[in-house]
Symmetry: C2
Subunit: 338 residues, 2 copies
């Protein structure tokens, strides 16, 4: 049911039944290391290229999800997946391994929430019972595609974020099929917001206004106060984008600072790891939600969260043609109802 | 409701209420010229780059759809769109112009049917009332991204298809909101099929097995015979891929040749226009369905069609790394029920 201008209330309250995560070596040196299911020891993962490594990570992540859930690929109605690589090849090649219908997404780093959102709506349609939503990114494949070859060793801008090497996947089920009390209750698909930021090294600034738009509209649509949620989790604004988001809400008289968490900030140790403003990439929010936050929900340390994945819908070509960076953010309300 | 292994029966039978199409100069020299709504006189469309031209085409196409439908952007719950460009920038930048939630898709040339499929399921969920599904491609932006700069003037392989310069968009509505009798009754999302074709100049061969898989499963799931449909329309196998598809069905004792139409073959005049095996690109099936076939449905010359958009989920990078070409096809059953 649509409520307000932009939000869908999911009456069937689908369950996020299980999750799976896999990360790279650098992410295993960060503070969330103990929460991840799997990790790769080197960035190649026994493959010859970074892209094949990324695809294999995503495939392993989904396989692990199926094993953890005690189901097979044939029990899944649809797999939603996307990534940052041109033509989303990480997803295409990874999901080739599964005898399951596939619907490819492109939402840049918002992809994981786009997948959760569409999974919820498909379950609400009563057409599907179990859906996988997944996403991945890889530092090395992203660097050479979006920025410079690694061999170039170029210096990063202070506002830059580091693409996370990780995949995350969630199994979303109708409650009659499998239920653990962790439910998706509302979803708010985002509009594209572009305030004219052109700096490809400052994605946080380009995406913060999109988060502000989606979260504001979500709260208006649901009639909820920001205090309804235990946490409002973005993925990924980084340090600079987070400052902007806090300021944008402050302008409206709202203090979001105590509720707000950012996956890009959480995944690395800012002081010990050289990542400037934090992490980014489709795989960041996917893996951090699928490990740390899902664990916090299961442990009931968190009971009501708003997960807001953010995407920058540019390409190196659009930026070289002088275009600004359109941002988007999709919000998913996840509530513990056991 | 899921029926069989892979098909969703859409109980609410959403309506394809209106469509919009825009094409380039070469497409206007083809046999379907009279069916298109809009066309651009030169490939730049008063922009400085091919990519900006493609984005403007898509934006114009959606604007035209809203005008034809007598609605505004605020009446649309969600826009689904995708394209072939890296990071789907045609869609991102085009849909930035609309104050409407956006969900980006990547399904290569299967994108338009992926959008129709998800539109149907969102309407079935009772969450949305009116959804736009759109897709675009542009010969010049695709050539330089996937193949060679146009200035290179390279010769095409006989099995190659020419990327169509076109956008198409459809407004899918709940019947209570707007109804013309043209309904989506079933959708079959495709699995990725990869039989090892590695020739980037022979996409038809890579995608024909995916069409065979999806159509066979659709017929099994629905219990329908191929003769149930007035036409089985692919987008886009081209001449060579069509031959393969006919052979694949022939091996099963089924003659699909009299039912089968291919948007990539229909859009150009094979004898007069230099396009080798025909057209391709997200915009081909989007524009040909949104013009010629939608007209045939309205005129009741066709009453039951299966629209099957096909995608090749590779990238130039995956091919240069020796990978084969994964194919996918999504099928949409569209029936005249006035």
């Amino acid at each position: 049911m649509k409520i307000g201008k932009q939000t869908f209330k999911i009456e069937c309250k689908p369950c996020i039944y299980s999750t799976s995560s896999i990360v790279g070596p650098k992410e295993m040196q960060g503070p969330l290391a103990n929460y991840f299911d799997l990790h790769i020891k080197d960035v190649f993962f026994d493959e010859k290229t970074f892209e094949k490594s990324e695809s294999k990570m995503l495939e392993s992540c989904i396989n692990n999800l199926l094993v953890k859930s005690g189901i097979t690929e044939h029990d899944v109605d649809v797999i939603f997946s996307g990534d940052l690589l041109n033509q989303c090849i990480s997803s295409g090649f990874a999901i080739r391994a599964f005898d399951t219908p596939f619907l490819g997404l492109y939402g840049a780093c918002s992809t994981f929430c786009e997948g959760l959102l569409l999974s919820s709506l498909l379950l609400e349609s009563n057409c599907a019972n179990q859906i996988v939503a997944a996403a991945s990114s890889h530092f090395c494949s992203a660097e050479r595609q979006f920025r410079m070859p690694l061999e170039h060793g170029n210096q990063k801008s202070p506002t830059a974020q580091a693409t996370v090497t990780a995949s995350g996947a969630a199994l979303v089920t109708r409650r009659e099929i499998a239920d653990n009390g962790i439910h998706i209750t509302h979803v708010t698909p985002g509009k594209i917001i572009d305030l004219g930021v052109t700096d490809m090294s400052n994605m946080g600034a380009a995406m913060a206004p999109a988060v502000f738009s989606t979260v504001s509209n979500h709260l208006n649509d649901t009639g909820r106060d920001i205090n309804y949620y235990d946490a409002i989790i973005t993925g990924d604004l980084g340090l600079h984008g987070t400052d902007m988001l806090i300021q944008l809400f402050k302008n409206e008289g709202i203090d979001i600072s105590k509720k707000h968490k950012d996956c890009g900030i959480l995944i690395y140790d800012e002081k010990k790891q050289d990542v400037n403003c934090g992490g980014s990439g489709c795989g960041c929010v996917a893996s951090v939600f699928s490990s740390y936050f899902f664990n916090e929900l299961k442990a009931k340390n968190l009971n009501k969260i708003l997960l807001v994945a953010t995407g920058a819908l540019m390409s190196p070509l659009s930026s070289s043609q002088g275009e600004s960076i359109p941002g988007i953010a999709h919000a998913i309300a996840i509530e513990n109802e056991v």
